[in-house]
């Protein structure tokens, strides 16, 4: 069996300046259905990103989904709205009932429950006169070219970790280092 391990995006807090460009980029590429196009003037809904800037006195960095291999969010979702697709853990917005179990389960706080929008209008619940809320999380820009947050970061603070490749690269480095050591013995 091929060992397919999901990739994930991670921020380097020593490079991140907290500018929120990644959040804005994430929102932009996920909201063409809400008429968001090239400029701020086309934004008609609140900016809902799928990665979340954490800022303290001394550091800043966005936190986002790790696309866990034993994903607590997916495993705990009572309606099976969270699935693995194209090697990423994604929320099926149509199925999500906003029960918040995933929020309780995720150790990173990588999901947020916020109103759903369609064609720039807040989606309403069928019965209750309340906006329908759904879980938002990183989908690794599925069905899109590239990764919006990584591309947009002006400080190159974000990168895609591909665990299998990462391991191979480290193995190779270790091997080369041993080789050098042996040669010099």
């Amino acid at each position: 069996m091929r060992n397919e391990i999901s990739s994930f995006v991670i921020a380097d807090p020593t490079k991140c300046v907290g500018c929120r460009t990644c959040e804005l980029a994430c929102f932009t590429v996920h909201n063409s259905k809400n008429e968001t196009r090239y400029t701020v003037g086309t934004v008609k809904t609140p900016v809902i990103p799928r990665l979340f800037l954490v800022k303290d006195e001394d550091f800043a960095m966005p936190v986002q989904c790790r696309h866990c291999e034993d994903a607590p969010c997916a495993n705990s979702c009572p309606v099976n709205a969270i699935k693995k697709a194209d090697n990423a853990i994604v929320v099926d917005e149509k199925l999500c009932i906003g029960c918040k179990t995933c929020i309780l389960a995720c150790p990173f706080g990588a999901l947020e429950l916020l109103p759903e929008y369609n064609e720039a209008q807040e989606v309403q619940q069928y019965g209750l006169e309340e906006p329908k809320k759904i879980a938002y999380k990183c989908d690794l820009c599925s069905k899109m070219d590239g990764y919006a947050c990584i591309e947009a970061c002006p400080k190159d603070a974000l990168s895609l970790v591909e665990p299998a490749l990462d391991k191979k690269t480290k193995n190779l480095k270790a091997a080369l280092s041993i080789l050098e050591t042996m040669k010099n013995l």
Partner: protein, 456 residues
């Protein structure tokens, strides 16, 4: 008008201070930044750069409604608010449009027509002068005039001024004076060279002075009956209109300035379907323009327009190629020699205020060997101005600039008339009213003085 930073929203990323051409923004990294009003030239590049928006997750910030009101923005605005911003003038325009006793005239800068459609979801750089004119008429302006008309007028005055200075060999190099941020910068940083600035007012202010004098007569009005509004890609144009000397009509020449973005807010507020508007023309005669007036919106454009006219005024021959490619391009700095009859005109074009310092240094050493230098504060001229639609993704910014530039040149190349001195409305204005470029009336209405701000 001021450019400000919201202390609650600023994360201290310092991206704005990196882009500020005059080092007016300071503060520790990670802490809210602040702007030194005396240094700031109001170019608004920080507003374009800032990505620190009011997040729905920030529970500790003031309500958005309060922020909208503090920023004098319309209540219905849905777009996110960012830390770097400018106060809106939009309510003043709403008041003008609601006051039936005022005769309202409006002008639009060249760069607005290649950008405003972006805020209605159209492609970057869409060229929409006809929809823009239609929208302004629908908003209720009595006359939809154009800054492109007065850009042609600027060329008549500035071209003649250049020829005079070159002939007399005095106060050279002559600098363009249509960028108010550049003018403010000279006043505060290099007042000793103020006499090198062309004495010409900017196209906005020339239009303002003409609308309330010649234009007033055309409609049997007096200057005080007219409310003059201008739509600019620029956050510094409002400052320019507020300068105390800008009242040659006897009234304030330009009453209110809106940015491109503010006009988009107003059009949305009035429920005008911009994308599907039928194209309309500008009102005549003060909305008549040539391709030369239109290219003021891009870096090198004022230079090219001046060369098209200057060449023909000096040589009495038609210029070989209307497209003066030597002065085009989006480089920070370029220089070229243009053969004008026997004269070798040495010109330079500066885009981005920071890039002017080498020329100032050369002047100090007596080595600035140019006749004419165009300076624009914003990185690629007015199409990249601080009041233009704000692009969401960094990767789309170069595309936005490129498309706005090509739209500008397309509009020029498709114009029947492409030289300012061939504009029939300009010819008539001189014949009936101004008489000659640099004449008495021109001096009264179209030229200005500059003041040192160094001691302030």
């Amino acid at each position: 008008m001021a450019v400000l930073i919201d202390q609650e929203l600023c994360t201290g990323c310092k991206m704005c201070s990196d882009v500020c051409p005059v080092d007016a923004i300071s503060g520790d990294a990670g802490k809210p930044q602040s702007i030194d009003e005396n240094k700031c030239v109001l170019c608004g590049q920080c507003v374009q750069m800032c990505s620190s928006f009011a997040s729905v997750f920030d529970e500790e910030i003031e309500p958005i409604e309060k922020k909208l009101s503090d920023r004098k923005m319309l209540k219905g605005i849905k777009e996110p608010l960012f830390a770097a911003y400018y106060d809106n003038n939009i309510h003043k325009v709403v008041d003008i449009l609601n006051d039936k006793n005022q005769f309202s005239v409006v002008q639009c800068a060249p760069a607005v027509r290649v950008a405003i459609a972006e805020d209605f979801g159209m492609d970057l750089g869409s060229l929409t002068p006809g929809k823009m004119a239609a929208a302004l008429r629908k908003l209720g302006f009595d006359r939809v005039y154009d800054t492109n008309f007065s850009a042609d007028l600027t060329i008549m005055e500035e071209g003649t001024e250049l020829i005079e200075r070159v002939t007399k060999n005095e106060k050279l190099p002559m600098f363009t004076s249509c960028c108010p941020a550049w003018v403010k910068y000279m006043e505060q940083s290099h007042p000793e060279y103020l006499d090198h600035l062309s004495t010409c007012k900017s196209p906005q202010q020339m239009a303002g002075a003409i609308f309330k004098t010649y234009g007033a007569k055309l409609d049997n009005k007096s200057a005080k009956d007219i409310a003059s509004v201008s739509i600019m890609p620029c956050t510094c144009k409002s400052f320019e209109s507020e300068r105390k000397e800008m009242n040659s009509s006897g009234e304030r020449d330009v009453d209110v300035v809106l940015t491109t973005r503010e006009l988009a807010y107003l059009i949305k507020e009035m429920d005008i379907d911009f994308v599907n508007l039928q194209e309309e023309n500008f009102d005549q005669p003060l909305g008549n323009y040539t391709g030369a007036g239109n290219i003021f919106g891009v870096t090198g454009g004022v230079m090219e327009a001046a060369i098209r006219t200057g060449y023909e005024l000096i040589t009495n021959q038609p210029i070989d190629s209307v497209d003066v490619l030597a002065v085009r391009g989006n480089k920070n700095f370029s220089e070229s020699i243009i053969k004008v009859g026997d004269l070798e005109l040495k010109v330079a074009v500066v885009a981005g205020l920071k890039n002017v310092e080498p020329i100032i240094e050369a002047m100090k050493n007596g080595k600035a060997d140019y006749h004419f230098v165009e300076v624009m504060t914003c990185p690629e001229g007015c199409i990249s101005g601080g009041g233009q639609p704000k692009v969401l993704l960094p990767k789309h910014k170069p595309m936005a600039y490129e498309n706005r530039i090509s739209g500008t040149y397309q509009h020029d190349s498709e114009s029947k008339l492409r030289k300012s001195h061939e504009n029939p409305a300009i010819k008539k204005l001189y014949k009936d009213f101004l008489k000659n470029p640099l004449g008495h009336k021109s001096h009264e209405l179209l030229h200005t003085k500059y003041y040192s701000r160094k001691d302030k």
